[in-house]
């Protein structure tokens, strides 16, 4: 069974950025070694069925605000926690849906889950990371990763 790769994640992310966050192509997501540190905002969708796992986006708090303000057409300082939950939830939904298109037919995508992690480590029990794309957007770190359940990995 083939699994998504970092190159797949990069291609999907570029398309999502061009469609929603950077339509002029002037402010792209730039892959780098930079990863969000705590506190951060985590948005995730789970895949069940023929393939089981998670697609996870991690944003610095500032990145989550910038992404939300860009999607919702607001100023950064006007963005509320509800706005962030809606906007980054939709981003992970779109990226997760496109990751799912690379997986076997018969996989189902959950509704998104969004949480703010203030400290500690974000863990995905019983899952192993398949691939990861890290980078920055407007100088703020964002990471996208795909995890597969150990039972199906």
């Amino acid at each position: 069974m083939t699994s998504p790769t970092t190159d797949d994640l990069q291609a999907i992310t570029e398309q999502v950025w061009l469609s929603y966050l950077d339509p002029e192509g002037t402010n792209p997501f730039l892959p780098s070694e930079q990863a969000p540190t705590m506190p951060c905002v985590i948005a995730a969708v789970s895949v069940t069925g023929a393939w089981e796992g998670h697609v996870v986006m991690s944003f610095s708090t500032e990145a989550s605000k910038k992404a939300s303000s860009a999607l919702l057409g607001m100023e950064d300082e006007e963005v509320t926690t509800d706005d962030i939950a809606d906007a980054v939830g939709e981003l992970v939904n779109v990226i997760g849906g496109n990751v799912k298109s690379l997986l076997p037919d018969g996989s189902l995508l959950s509704l998104p889950h969004v949480a703010t992690i203030d400290e500690g480590v974000n863990k995905w029990p019983a899952a192993v990371e398949v691939c990861r794309l890290q980078g920055s957007w407007q100088n703020e770190p964002i990471a996208i990763s795909v995890w597969t359940s150990k039972s199906t990995g």
């Binding site: 061009l18 999607l71 919702l72 939709e90 997760g96 849906g97 037919d105 995508l109 509704l111």
Partner: protein, 125 residues
């Protein structure tokens, strides 16, 4: 009518179709959309419908709308991340007229609406 559980996505679609001259009403899921349809004197020309929504998903909404004669003239367009061939076939078989996969550009939505005869060909948003 724009039906999506994400306010951000509803806003993106609203911007696109408003520029094309449509007036827009929004619903956060299929159930809300059906309730809204019941309350409207004049059904909308077109509904842009997400698939994966709480309470009533897009496929269930399409099926419900197609079961009612008075809503027959509404053009139904799925706008979703769901890209599995079998799912696309299910949506079209249930009565959806067109299918757009997220992420989309404004041009893709405009092109599909033009194909459906809802905006003039060659219109750019």
């Amino acid at each position: 009518m724009v039906i999506d559980d994400s306010r951000a996505m509803r806003l993106i679609l609203r911007r696109i179709v408003t520029q094309l001259g449509f007036e827009v009403v929004e619903a956060g899921n299929g159930r809300e959309a059906l309730d809204l349809l019941e309350s409207m004197d004049q059904p909308p020309q077109v509904a842009l419908i997400d698939w994966n929504m709480p309470e009533m998903n897009g496929l269930e909404f399409v099926t419900a709308v197609r079961s009612q004669e008075r809503f027959r003239q509404i053009t139904l367009m799925m706008v979703t991340t769901e890209s599995e061939h079998g799912q696309i076939v299910r949506a079209l078989a249930a009565g959806a007229h067109e299918y757009v996969i997220k992420p989309f550009t404004p041009e893709a939505i405009t092109e599909k609406l033009a194909l459906l005869g809802l905006v003039p060909s060659g219109t750019m948003s």
